[in-house]
């Protein structure tokens, strides 16, 4: 399936892009993160991150659909 990824903060720096479209067999965000972590060398464990799917926070094991926009959310530091 095709997924749209957006990257922010240290993940963006590490990936070297602010977004990308990937082809993957990963059926949920947990497996997708493991795959992308291996490819980009992300330092953070999934336990440190939250995941957003199509603009809303979601569970890591929610089934992904083709065309979903997925964002891994590092601990926030606004304010």
């Amino acid at each position: 399936m095709k997924y749209r990824l957006l990257y922010f903060a240290s993940l963006r720096d590490r990936a070297g892009v602010d977004s990308e479209t990937v082809e993957s067999f990963a059926a949920d965000a947990r497996n997708l993160y493991a795959e992308l972590r291996a490819r980009h060398g992300f330092a953070m464990d999934a336990d440190c991150l939250r995941v957003a799917i199509n603009g809303e926070f979601a569970a890591w094991d929610r089934a992904l659909a083709d065309g979903d926009e997925i964002v891994f959310i590092p601990p926030v530091s606004g304010g």
């Binding site: 903060a9 957003a52 926030v76 530091s77 304010g79």
Partner: protein, 135 residues
Amino acid sequence: MFRLSDDTIDAATLTRGLAHTRAGACVAFEGWVRDHNDGRRVLRLDYQAYTALAQTQGERILAEAREKFAILDACCVHRVGALAIGDLAVWVGVSAAHRGAAFDACRYIIDAVKSRVPIWKNEHYADGESGWLHP
């Protein structure tokens, strides 16, 4: 009203926007860019936001505050982009008939914004390094 802004925040205008003839109290929080963090000297910083999710999270936090506390209005504006020391990074304002609810709601909103709204701070230090804060 929750808003991200890449321009200077005008606190006076935002405060006037909370006016209400039944309002006896207004509490405002301003987050300013400090010149230090964790013992390191900070020269300037950048805020990056995941705009779509920040907007829905911000609006939800304000709705929660209106539900939890007896307030009349609430507003939050957060800067994105490059900021200098002393700049206003985030503004939260709450109006209410009485001050207790205004204080509590303002505190609730800024605490929730800092924990749930996807905005990240990249601090540039005096030693030339910089780093995203992921507390």
